[in-house]
């Protein structure tokens, strides 16, 4: 890998990590959401570098576009961007950091103890992950999971509508009156 490549990937990784940390530490939920959008966009560029253009653009449209706009709408709707910074459970912060560190140690140990050398990235053919190939694989080999995902999305839509529906007290009273 050339020096320029290392600088490029290093810069992207630093942007991703810094935006994730900023999302974590920011008191305002709106700023957190915007930092998360930056993180998603950076990861999309990394997907491009990993030879996954279709996933990269899906990431931008679905994650950075649809999902985060939904988040921003809900934050704006609820007006819940700021909460008090006090710590109700004693030692929650230290405990959380200790648990996070334990997880890091587990990951590092796994990386050390697994018996597999780490190879450099392979050069991919031009049409390894072209939308055409992904579409063929998705509609032949993975047709059943695709249909299952369609039903999951349908049930999620219905669930979201049912959950946010306002119960009308007038209708409730009418039902009681019939009894």
């Amino acid at each position: 890998m050339t020096l320029i490549g290392i600088i490029f990937y290093g810069f992207l990784a630093i942007v991703a990590i810094v935006s994730a940390v900023a999302m974590l530490l920011n008191r305002s939920a709106i700023y957190s959401a915007l930092f998360l959008v930056l993180n998603f966009a950076t990861i999309a560029v990394l997907y491009l570098a990993l030879g996954a253009p279709f996933i990269a653009f899906t990431q931008v449209t679905v994650y950075a576009g649809a999902i985060m706009i939904l988040f921003l709408f809900v934050i704006a709707l609820l007006g819940a961007e700021k909460l008090s910074g006090h710590e109700p459970i004693k030692g929650q912060r230290t405990m959380a950091i200790v648990l996070g560190l334990i997880f890091v140690v587990e990951l590092v140990l796994f990386l050390i103890f697994r018996n597999q050398g780490i190879q450099p990235m392979l050069a991919l053919t031009q049409d390894f992950a072209s939308p055409q190939k992904i579409g063929i694989a998705m509609f032949t080999q993975y047709l059943l999971p695709f249909e299952v995902v369609a039903f999951i999305l349908l049930s999620a839509t219905i669930g979201a509508i049912v959950l946010t529906r306002v119960e009308k007290p007038a209708r409730l009273g009418a039902a009681r009156g019939k009894k």
């Binding site: 290392i6 990784a13 996954a52 899906t58 990235m121 992950a129």
Partner: protein, 99 residues
Amino acid sequence: MPTSFFLALSAIMFVLGILGVLLRRNALVIFMSLELMFNAANLAFVTFANQYQLLTGQIFVFFIMAVAAAEVAVGLALMVAIFRNKGSVDIDQLNSLKG
């Protein structure tokens, strides 16, 4: 660039997501941290798809994204419902189940 670079980035992002879930008390920010963890897992998937020259990893990332979108829709609907009932999305106030 070695594969381990991307795996390390994925691991760091996953740990940051875990810290977000454990540290923050705004339920919406906890949700965002969950999305961060989803993304870390997706990055690992795409990295291994590249490593082993298999398209399966990328297709599963696509499915994970669809399921994450469904999860966000239901989760945010729950948030709105909770906010209507409690007037807050602070998870420390959602202690009605405490005995």
